[in-house]
């Protein structure tokens, strides 16, 4: 064949590898001989990883206490009984005593946990105004409609922060006391309430409205606190860097949880003598019991947990890796058997051909 210009007709297609579908290509084949080593390698790697993860998860300590106050479960039941059916419930406090027989390896984090609380409910989840929370003046005065029925107060004032999420802010508080020696005095363990929210949330996403005459209270003038709150948003904390919309408890609460049972970080224990962990001894947690959960069948828990590089205690990942790794190895063996048994047969087939 000669490809002179005249020989090629007017409709002669271009002769490129692409148009002729002859681009050079790598043609991998997922055959047993490739899959076998792959399965064994993957299996071994996974088992190794799984073991590491499992032990690392096992090394994490957790201490949990349900202080909802169901009958006969400690002294919080009094508070629960008082608060029953009253909104807002009266102020009440109770305590949880526990003793650590040995050193609780730090750093220790204090969480609260709620069950049966649907922060991921769609209507609840959209009931917020991110513009307002970013400190926008106009949004402060005119919250978005999604906040309804927590958009304007009965008096017609805009609610700040508006919406169902803000309104239902978790308002129990905890303090931790340590008794070094039996019968000795209880010493308060310092709780670091900063750094519990995402850095970006605290520094970028949530902003207070611009101060008026240097006062946050004046900036919020003309707004109403959410109906369930006892105090306005600018009084959430005396610390000017932790009040208003950038109060860390508030910011943590505003990051809605994925599942109806969720934990939120309350504090970190990392100061003074307790930076390495909680020493042996008896402890008391003073609980201000405000938050009603029994109305929706929920529970409140308080949790001390240490944290490793992989976060909190979660055996799932380790177990999953172990299971998948062993499965890979098992499959590998099955395939090996199949491979050996049927290899000859296939070869015969091919020889026949």
């Amino acid at each position: 064949m000669t490809w002179s210009a005249t020989a090629r007709g007017a409709h002669q297609p271009d002769n490129t590898a692409f148009t002729q579908q002859r681009l050079p290509a790598w043609q991998p084949l997922l055959s047993a001989s490739i899959a076998l080593p792959l399965f064994f390698c993957a299996g071994l790697a996974f088992i190794g990883l799984g073991l590491g993860l499992y032990y690392s998860s096992n090394g994490i300590k957790e201490l949990e206490y349900d202080y909802t106050g169901d009958l006969g479960t400690g002294n919080c039941s009094v508070c629960a009984a008082i608060g029953q059916g009253r909104a807002p419930p009266p102020r009440c406090s109770c305590a949880w005593y526990f003793s650590l027989p040995e050193f609780f390896q730090g750093p220790v984090f204090l969480y609260y946990e709620l069950t049966n609380f649907y922060q991921n409910n769609r209507r609840y989840g959209v009931s917020r105004d991110d513009a307002q929370l970013s400190g926008l003046q106009s949004a402060l005065r005119h919250p978005v409609n999604e906040c309804y029925p927590y958009q304007y107060s009965a008096a017609g004032l805009p609610i700040a922060p508006c919406g169902a999420i803000a309104n239902s802010l978790f308002n129990d508080s905890f303090s931790l006391w340590h008794q070094r020696l039996p019968g000795g005095p209880y010493v308060e363990v310092p709780l670091d309430r900063t750094g519990i929210a995402w850095w970006t949330d605290y520094h970028v996403k949530f902003r207070n409205p611009p101060l008026v005459n240097g006062s946050l209270a004046l900036a919020f003038q003309g707004t109403a606190p959410p109906p369930s709150w006892h105090r306005p948003v600018y009084e959430l904390s005396p610390d000017p860097n932790n009040t208003g919309f950038i109060n860390q408890d508030f910011v943590v609460w505003m990051r809605t949880a994925a599942l109806p049972t969720f934990r939120k970080l309350y504090a970190r224990i990392r100061q003074g003598n307790y930076s390495a962990g909680l020493p042996r001894g008896t402890y008391r947690v003073n609980i201000t019991y405000n938050y009603p959960v029994r109305a929706f069948g929920g529970h409140k828990l308080i949790t001390f947990s240490s944290v490793s590089w992989m976060g909190g205690k979660n055996p799932f990942l380790g177990i999953a890796y172990l299971v998948v790794g062993s499965l890979c190895i098992l499959m590998g063996f099955v395939m090996l058997v199949v491979y050996i048994r049927y290899q000859d047969q296939n070869d015969e087939d091919e020889d026949d051909e």
């Binding site: 020989a7 007709g9 007017a10 002669q12 297609p13 148009t19 002729q20 579908q21 002859r22 084949l29 997922l30 055959s31 047993a32 750093p107 649907y118 922060q119 991921n120 409910n121 209507r123 609840y124 989840g125 959209v126 917020r128 991110d130 970013s134 978005v144 029925p149 239902s168 519990i196 995402w198 970006t200 970028v204 990051r255 809605t256 949880a257 994925a258 599942l259 109806p260 049972t261 934990r263 970080l265 109305a295 069948g297 947990s305 944290v307 490793s308 992989m310 976060g311 909190g312 979660n314 990942l317 890796y321 998948v324 890979c328 499959m331 395939m335 199949v338 296939n346 091919e350 051909e353």
Partner: protein, 1139 residues
């Protein structure tokens, strides 16, 4: 267009019964007929405006939107979008509105642009100037102002502005030449004839004095058929009535050639011209894949509805405890509380529907259509299917059927021009038992006459001599060839000399071969001039015969005749035709000798024709004339009447002799047929040829083999036995064979099973197809189908065009509903090409009609092999993967959403962010699969060609069966479970960062989404066998794009969004070590079952394709270039793939 339609409708309605007359009357030059003539009903005809555009500026938007939303998928998305607008739904209307808007806009722009082009073309056509005659003067007007009845003048190289009746020409003989290249693609010149009585009107003044009316049928789309008559009034006599046929009709779109100017009268204008009527689109063929796709869509729609229903019911069951319906922290508004329960439930149902609607992705339609459109370019680009000789490449007329090419079970092929070259060569002629063979078988080269004749038998006597010359004259005269003077431009025609070369043009290549053949035997046909046919005899004398009548050829009669008057005044009728149509009409001649010769030739695969004559006396001729005239003038049933007349005329003939013409097989025709048969495709040859010729051709192209046992259902056999007996006997034979076949297979001796071939002819077929009196029409058909099914090859000969379509239809609607393909090159194949699932036209010698009506056109029959075995195979695996993968990835996408409802109180909370919902199908996962569906080659092209048996692997829609579909769906569900519960257990009540901070619901969704995008893309990567650099770029690029997009989307506070829920979510997730580990784990777990299935199936039950893949990959390292000759797999029955 609409207006004219309405107008005609209104008109029909008002005018009542008279309108039912199927004819229209045209006053030539708008002159009323003289009083006393029949009263005609004046009709309104549209003006000559051509409107091919669909839209106007004003109606574009509403009409285009209406057109687009008539598609069920678009309508579905519109409904979803409207629901989102109306009720409070979980996702913003943008998520479904944006893709829909995109799709609609792109389609609208494309259609708008096409329509704009059409508008431009229309106005160019409508405004081009036309000369027409008014009051004896030439007037120039715009084409669109032309009315029916106007007399138009057309000059050389102009196209006709509307359908014209040819009145007169500048050529003295009243003919003109036209090409219809823009109508049907035939570029040869065709001769048209002016009306006899008006061909003397040469000037405008003459034209103005013409007084005539034309009656003709209402506009019809058939380009090659026209029936009408003209009444020419003159002052003295009664009106002269003349028949009008398609030879008098000049079609809009054709171009005038070799003629200075012509006059014609407009009879069909504007949208009623045959060209415009032919623009109407053909019925849409839909491929099997598309049908399965629609079924799957319905399944998914059911899944969608049931998901929404389940969730709605669950929601109300779950909410029956009051604190769950409205906990204190999430109170409803007053309006919500007061809403009716059923209304609320219905709204919830709709909201769930909206939430899950992505399971039927709008982008699938776009992707499938893009795949088909872009993919079809690979066919047109294919260099191997380009024919050097003709300079023609393959044509794709519709890209909707690409994948159907991979599903063909029956190929119906024409013989002449398709299997054979249609390049006829005169082989021999036999006059009364004497055989003449021209030695010089060299086109165009004329040797001295005497030397060219080889007398096989002894020289005939004097009487024989006379007969012989009569035979040659008959062959010379009995045809419809035109002589094209190749060098007419050089000047006036020279006196004919023996060396002059004539180029003959005819619709039938046989005729050309014959006339060229007898030229070599000493008789040269020169030309037709002034109705005199001139031929040059052996003595170099010119003989002139007056051509009185032509009884033209048709495929039902299978013969043609001419009536000529010799110089001595003798009138002859020469008849030429197939032996079966001549022998019964012969009363004299050496029938037996000629018949045996004909049969011998036919067995050798030659095309034979018999020639007979009859001498007519003047009275007979006059009778014939009257008969013909009556038939020709008839407006209704003209064809039937003509046929009857011909029947009467062509009888009592005297047999002269027979001719044999060879039609060589196309190159590699045998190879192609063999390959198709190996691919499990049944090849049927449908031909108009006689049985022996066709059977010989079938042997030559290996359709029948030496060991093929032939079964015959022919007229000859039916004369001896009844149809019933024949069919039952055959089915008994076949069934016996079937039993032995299975036994043989069982014992593994499948090599020497008996092959059966069936031969049936047209007459027998029509008996089978004819419903029986007792109404049980189907029983013979069923029996016949049964026999056919068990035959490896079927030959149907003596077929009329419509019978070809009938056969195709019979098979197409038989109970297995096989996919049929028809391939042909001539006008007689058009009906079967249109009927079959896939119609392939061969750009052949018999014009381009077949190619024009086909779905694909190829230059040669041998290209069918690559078309089916390579392109069809590729397109099929590509599109089936595309369809299955699309459903799979959307199950993966939506099922976690469904599961999440169980954990969010059935509140229709979305798992993913709006941007992810919108872009998942548009950009994150769309390109890799589109590219796969364009580029994938699971087996190398050469292997597919070498090993046709691989085609069986995908037969019967193998990759889109329910089993496969369910496998993919379950894989999707499994993967979705892995994603969701993997993330669930990861996030359950614990922190996954080393700083103890907690993640929220958006991180949860993002983790699921990330795992999903990676799994779904890697699943495609696992399925890809053909990794070109483009695949690498697109697959890895698409993953990279997802990551980059997520980083950007979460990295900035987007000012135009009223929520910032994704802010830093992705980055925070990546900052956690366990999240990385989880992504790796979940991706691996999701892919594991598929990998396992692939490896085990390949090892345990390898399909033929997989065996070939393995052996080629094994050989690849051994020798880089696999030898092309050795077939990789000879096993004709590869084991079916079990899954």
């Amino acid at each position: 267009m609409d207006c004219s339609l309405v107008r005609t409708l209104v008109h029909r309605y008002c005018a009542g019964e008279e309108e039912c007359v199927d004819s229209r009357t045209v006053y030539v030059g708008h002159r009323e007929p003289p009083p006393g003539a029949e009263a005609y009903i004046p009709q309104r005809c549209p003006d000559n405006r051509i409107v091919s555009s669909k839209y106007t500026f004003w109606n574009f938007i509403p009409k285009n939107l209406f057109e687009q939303f008539r598609r069920i998928a678009n309508f579905y998305f519109l409904i979803i979008f409207l629901v989102q607008l109306i009720i409070d739904t979980p996702t913003s209307p943008v998520t479904s509105g944006l893709p829909l808007f995109f799709v609609i806009t792109v389609t609208a722009i494309k259609q708008g642009y096409e329509d704009w082009l059409r508008h431009k073309a229309d106005s160019a056509v409508n405004q081009c100037p036309v000369h027409f005659v008014q009051h004896g003067r030439l007037v120039r007007k715009q084409s669109r102002k032309l009315r029916v009845g106007d007399i138009v003048m057309v000059k050389e190289d102009e196209t006709f502005p509307c359908d014209l009746i040819f009145l007169s020409s500048s050529r003295v003989d009243g003919t003109c030449h036209v090409t219809t290249a823009s109508l049907d693609g035939e570029s040869s010149h065709k001769t048209h004839y002016a009306v006899q009585d008006t061909k003397g009107f040469h000037t405008e003044e003459d034209m103005d004095s013409l007084h005539a009316t034309i009656e003709c049928e209402q506009p019809q789309p058939d380009l090659y058929r026209f029936v009408g008559r003209i009444n020419v009034y003159s002052d003295l006599n009664d009106p002269v009535v003349r028949p009008l046929g398609s030879e008098n009709l000049l079609l809009r779109g054709a171009t005038l050639k070799n003629t200075e100017k012509i006059f014609g009268v407009a009879i069909y204008t504007g949208m009623e011209t045959k060209m415009a009527l032919n623009y109407q689109s053909k019925s849409q063929k839909r491929s099997a894949v598309e049908k399965s796709m629609n079924v799957f869509l319905i399944v998914y729609l059911c899944i969608l509805i049931s998901k929404a229903l389940i969730n709605t019911v669950m929601k109300y069951v779950w909410q029956s405890e009051p604190f769950r319906d409205e906990p204190w922290y999430n109170q409803k508004t007053e309006a919500e509380r007061q809403r009716n329960l059923f209304l609320r439930a219905f709204t919830d149902f709709l909201a769930f529907m909206v939430l899950f609607n992505y399971i039927i992705p709008v982008s699938m339609y776009v992707t499938v259509e893009m795949q088909k459109f872009l993919g079809s370019y690979f066919i047109t680009w294919d260099e191997e299917m380009f024919d050097e000789e003709t300079g023609e490449g393959p044509l794709v007329n519709t890209s909707d059927l690409n994948e159907e090419l991979g599903q063909v079970e029956y190929v119906f092929t024409d013989k002449t021009g398709t299997l054979t070259e249609n390049n006829m060569e005169f082989k021999e002629c036999c006059v009364e038992g004497h055989v003449y063979v021209p030695h010089a078988i060299c086109n165009g080269q004329v040797l001295p006459a005497a030397a060219a004749i080889d007398m096989i038998d002894a020289s005939p006597g004097a009487g024989g001599r006379e007969r012989e010359e009569l035979f040659f004259r008959a062959v010379c005269l009995c045809h419809t060839i035109q002589v094209k003077d190749g060098d007419e431009a050089d000047g006036p025609r020279k006196s004919p000399d023996s060396g002059r070369r004539c180029v003959y043009i005819s619709a039938s290549p046989d005729e050309v071969a014959l006339v060229e053949g007898v030229q070599r035997l000493g008789f040269t046909y020169l030309r037709l001039k002034d109705n005199y046919m001139e031929l040059q005899n052996r003595g170099n004398d010119i003989e002139r015969f007056e051509l009185l009548e032509i009884l033209s050829f048709d495929s039902v009669r299978r013969r043609m005749s001419v009536i000529v008057k010799s110089a001595t005044g003798e009138i002859y009728l020469f008849c030429k035709g197939a032996d079966s149509s001549i022998f019964p009409r012969v009363i004299e001649g050496k029938v037996d000798q000629i018949r045996s010769r004909v049969e011998r030739n036919a067995v050798e695969g030659l095309r034979t024709l018999c020639v007979a004559y009859k001498r007519l006396i003047q009275e007979e001729y006059e009778g014939i004339c009257k008969l013909l005239q009556a038939a020709k003038v008839a407006l209704q049933d003209r064809e039937r009447k003509l046929a009857e007349a011909y029947e009467q005329i062509e009888k009592d003939l005297i047999l002269l002799g027979a001719t044999a013409v060879e039609d060589r097989l196309q190159e590699k025709a045998a190879d192609t047929i063999e390959a198709l048969q190996k691919a499990g495709i049944k090849v049927w040859v449908l031909t108009g040829d006689k049985m022996e010729t066709a059977a010989a051709a079938c042997y030559a192209c290996k359709l029948f083999r030496r060991n093929t046992q032939l079964l015959e259902v022919t007229t000859k056999r039916l004369e001896e036995q009844s149809l019933h007996d024949v069919l039952f006997e055959l089915s008994k034979t076949i069934l016996h064979c079937g039993a032995s076949l299975t036994r043989d297979n069982f014992s593994g001796l499948s090599a020497d099973t008996q092959d059966y071939g069936l031969i049936i002819d047209g007459a027998a077929l029509s008996l089978i197809m004819k419903p029986r009196e007792d109404g049980s029409s189907s029983s013979y058909r069923e029996l016949f189908l049964d026999i056919c099914r068990n035959c490896s090859a079927v030959l149907c000969c003596r077929m009329a065009p419509l019978q070809k379509a009938q056969i195709v239809k019979l098979i197409k609607f038989s109970k297995e509903r096989p996919i049929t393909l028809a391939i042909g090159d001539g006008a007689n194949d058009v009906s079967m090409i249109l009927e079959a699932h896939v119609g392939i036209g061969i750009v052949g010698k018999e014009g381009r009609q077949a190619a024009r009506n086909s779905d694909y056109a190829i230059p040669k029959f041998k290209h069918l092999k690559k078309m089916l075995l390579v392109h069809g195979h590729f397109y099929y695996i590509r599109i089936s993967e595309l369809v299955q993968y699309f459903f799979y990835k959307n199950v993966c996408f939506i099922f976690p959403q469904f599961l999440y409802q169980f954990f969010c109180g059935f509140s229709q909370q979305t798992l993913y962010d709006t941007a992810y919902l919108t872009l998942y199908n548009i950009s994150f996962t769309s390109l890799p699969v589109l590219l796969y569906s364009l580029m994938e080659q699971h087996v190398a092209m050469d292997t597919l060609k070498r090993d046709p048996a691989l085609y069986r692997d995908i037969a019967k829609n193998a990759l889109l069966r329910w089993r496969v579909f369910i496998y993919w769906t379950f894989l999707g569900v499994f993967d979705a479970l892995v994603f969701f519960f993997g993330a669930y257990f990861m996030f359950e009540n614990t922190t996954v960062t080393s700083n103890g901070q907690m993640f929220g619901n958006w991180t949860f969704g993002t983790l699921v989404f990330t795992v999903m995008v990676f799994t779904v893309t890697l699943k495609l990567a696992l399925d890809t066998h053909y990794w070109t650099w483009i695949n690498h770029v697109v697959i890895w690029g698409s993953l990279l794009f997802y990551v980059v997009f997520s980083l950007l989307w979460g990295g900035i506070i987007w000012p135009f969004l009223n929520y910032q829920r994704m802010y830093y979510v992705f980055i925070q997730m990546l900052s956690s070590g366990p999240a990385w580990l989880a992504i790796v784990l979940l991706v691996v777990v999701s892919l594991l079952p598929d990998v396992l299935k692939k490896v085990l199936c390949r090892q345990l039950w390898p399909s033929a394709t997989e065996k070939v893949q393995r052996s080629s990959s094994r050989r690849a390292p051994a020798d880089a270039a696999p030898s092309p000759d050795r077939p990789l797999l000879m096993d004709p029955e590869p084991r079916p793939r079990r899954e």
